[in-house]
Every structure is written in C-alpha cells, then in structure tokens.
C-alpha cells in the first residue's frame, strides 16, 4: 500500500551454519503458522526484516508528510473549536509517525537513516498526501475518507505478526477514530448549511473519493509483494478486499451526510452482496507514486526544509545536554 520502492539494506550478520539457520527458520515458520508474534531480537528471515523496515518506515513517513495538507488550514479554521480540534489531529499524526519510527528502530535501523531515505526519495509515503487541500471542506473529506481508509487498512495490521508494529497500530487505531468522526462532523455541518457550504463539501468529496480508493494500493492481480506479505502474517487482507469493504461502508455514510459519491457506476449488487463501483484510473496512481502528482515537489521541499531549518534546535538541545552532563553548569542555574 505504501509503495514498492526497496528500503535500506539490513546490516550484514555473520553467516550461520546451515543446520542452525534451517532450525531457526523452522521455528520462525512455526510461530507464524501458530499466529504468534515475532518480537525484537528474535531470529527472522532477512527478507522479513527488510520488508517490515520498508513498510513501517513508509508508514511513518506518511504520517509526517500527512501533517502538511491539514496543517495548511490550521490558521484558517472557521472557529476556535475547529482550530483546536485540527491542531489536535495534526499533533496526533506527528505522534503516530513517532510510534512507527520507534517500531522500525526495534528492527535494527536508525531513524536518521530512514529520514535520509525519505528526503532523497528512496523511500516513499502514501500517495494520497500529494493532493492539495483547496478548501476548509477538504479537512472534512480527509478526516472522513482518508482517515477512514487508513483505519480500514490499519485495523487488520493490529494483528500483524511483528509485535512492535501490531502494538503501535493498536495505539494508532484508538486515536484514529476521532479523526474520522471529526471529518464526518465537518462534512455533516457543511452539507446541512448554506447552499454554498453544501457545494463546498460536495466538491471536496468529489476530489478525494478516487484518491482515497487508491490508498488501498494496486489491484490484487498487480500487487507482487502481497503474496509474501500474507505468508509472513504481515498482510491480513488483500487490497481489493479492503477497498470493497471501504466502498460498502462509505455508501451509507454518504447518504447520512446528504452527499453523493462521484461514481455513476456505483450500485448495489445483490448477487455479490457488495457495491459495484467504477474503474479506477491506475495510471494516475502510478504517476503520483512516481512523483508526478500535484504536490509531490511541495511536500518534499517542505519536509526537507523543516528538517534543515530545525537543525539549530536539535543542535542547541544537544549542546545544552552535553554542557549539563559535563557539570559545567551548576544545577538550577540558567544555561
């Protein structure tokens, strides 16, 4: 879901005697077969470690980059209440990124290196954040559709075979549900407001619906990593399965909102007991992942400059800590 770009190389471990490695592999396979958790410092296949590092890191990057489209509207929230709520949401996204970097670090990587990979474009983030937020109603559309899709993907991840990732997901899911309700509430208020407000809400949904469906990744037939991720207990449901669940969930919620979904082919199929929906433009997803979306350059530039511009703060904090450790400043005195 978060891209197919290879992550960093795992550190070279001393080669184990063939017999020992086979036994460890068997133990690992048994744990996975028993739906048990793999914990830090357990032996794991190199591919398992690598794929998790890439997935968790890209998930973390998505949270951090995801702060930007919503951060865009903090200064223009229509009321103090809405501003406080949006601030809390964006703060949560930062927190989610931090939980995930921590989880990634249990696999033996340094978050400095992960950030370097993000900044150099070698690791990706969720393509949805490459779309602009053009009106206040976009805050509603993002909360309802983007966080909604994220929840649909993240709940199964709570049962991911890798312990720290699953546990981070439990924390994140608890916090994410306020995000979805917050978005729904914004859209509900706008939809039932003036005609101009209703139109603004509908426009936001029209722009975010298809990109939200793309968040579930390419179709199963076009998803080469899925099979291995499923075998390793990382992925619990297929892209298409989750996407279908999301569509079904949104149809009734859209009705409650009094808004339409921009898909003329959307209709209930009583044979399948699911909603049929229109064809997704996969070329758009490919373009956006490759860097040709509306905001890719802006997101990266913003991220890199935030990191660079904040360097003096990190260095000052380190210098302060070092000064106090060395005992050069008496306790309680100003630095």
């Amino acid at each position: 879901m978060y891209g197919n770009v290879d992550g960093i190389e795992s550190s070279d471990e001393g080669a184990l005697p063939a017999g020992v490695e086979a036994a460890l592999q068997e133990l690992f396979d048994q744990l996975i077969a028993d739906d048990q958790r793999i914990e830090p410092r357990d032996w794991m296949p190199d591919g398992y470690r690598k794929t998790l590092i890439r997935q968790i890191a890209q998930h973390a990057h998505s949270e951090i980059i995801g702060m930007q489209p919503e951060g865009n509207w903090i200064t223009r929230a229509p009321s103090l209440r809405r501003k406080a709520i949006l601030l809390a949401k964006v703060q949560d996204e930062a927190g989610h990124g931090l939980y995930l970097y921590s989880a990634a670090e249990t696999l033996g990587v340094d978050r400095e290196d992960l950030l370097d990979l993000l900044h150099s474009g070698k690791q990706k983030y969720s393509s949805i954040f490459n779309y602009p937020t053009l009106s206040w109603a976009d805050m509603g559309a993002i909360g309802w559709l983007v966080d909604g899709a994220a929840i649909m993907n993240q709940v199964p991840l709570c049962r991911c075979s890798y312990g720290p990732y699953g546990r981070a997901m439990v924390r994140i899911c608890k916090e994410e549900s306020f995000h979805q309700r917050q978005g729904f509430e914004i859209l509900f208020t706008l939809s039932h407001g003036t005609p101009a407000q209703h139109a603004m809400a509908q426009d936001a949904v029209n722009r975010f619906w298809w990109p939200a469906l793309m968040m579930f990744g390419p179709p199963d037939t076009d998803s080469p990593n899925s099979e291995q991720s499923t075998a390793w207990g990382i992925k619990r449901f297929s892209n298409d399965e989750l996407r279908q669940r999301f569509v079904d969930m949104c149809v009734s919620q859209a009705e409650a909102l009094g808004l339409t979904l921009p898909d003329p082919d959307l209709q209930w199929n009583s044979e399948r007991q699911h909603h049929d929906f229109g064809a997704i433009d996969w070329a758009e997803l490919t373009r956006v992942i490759k860097g040709d979306g509306p905001c890719n350059a802006q997101r990266m530039a913003r991220r890199v400059s935030a990191h660079e511009d904040g360097r003096w703060v990190r260095e000052a904090a380190q210098a302060y800590a070092a000064k106090h450790r060395a005992g050069k400043v008496p306790a309680g005195a100003a630095a």
């Binding site: 931090l98 939980y99 921590s102 670090e105 904090a317 380190q318």
Partner: protein, 88 residues
C-alpha cells in the same frame, strides 16, 4: 534513545509503551508526556536510557527459563485438597 514506561493509574504498574529520542532525561520526560499521554493515559512516566536495559537472549530462551518448566509443584493446582476443606 530512551524507553518509556507509563503507569496508567494508581494501583497499576508501569508498562512499556515505546521509545523516543531526546538529548537528556528532562527533555525525554517532556517528550514522553507529549507523545504517549495525549489522552491522559498516564499518571506516572519512567524513562530509561535504552542502553541501560539488559535483555535476556531470545535464542537462549529455553535453556534460560528451563529450571522453572518441570516444577509443577510451585503451582497450587498441583495439590489435592480433600472435599469439604475450605479456605485452602
């Protein structure tokens, strides 16, 4: 790097909730509060430098814990209590 332990409320013990980076203990404590207790999840925080933690090796788990595995007599269920005897 620091490991973070939070006591959710009185009566419970501290639980490990994750890790974070900070230049010193004071900043680590404040960061832990901001990252891990936004919803009042804790009344007490411990932060411990990750390097201070000594962990048992997962590879040696079986031999390391083995002495406890064949001593069922440490469990109350090992003992037969005659019928009618209470508070035992």
């Amino acid at each position: 790097m620091w490991e973070v332990f939070i006591r959710a409320r009185r009566g419970l013990s501290h639980q490990h909730v994750g890790s974070l980076h900070a230049p010193d203990a004071e900043m680590a404590l404040r960061n832990a509060r901001d990252v891990y207790t936004r919803r009042g999840e804790g009344v007490s925080i411990w932060i411990v430098p990750s390097s201070a933690i000594t962990a048992s090796s997962p590879d040696e788990k079986d031999p390391f814990f083995d002495p406890a595995m064949d001593k069922a007599y440490r469990h109350p269920t090992f003992y037969d209590v005659p019928e009618g005897v209470s508070h035992l």
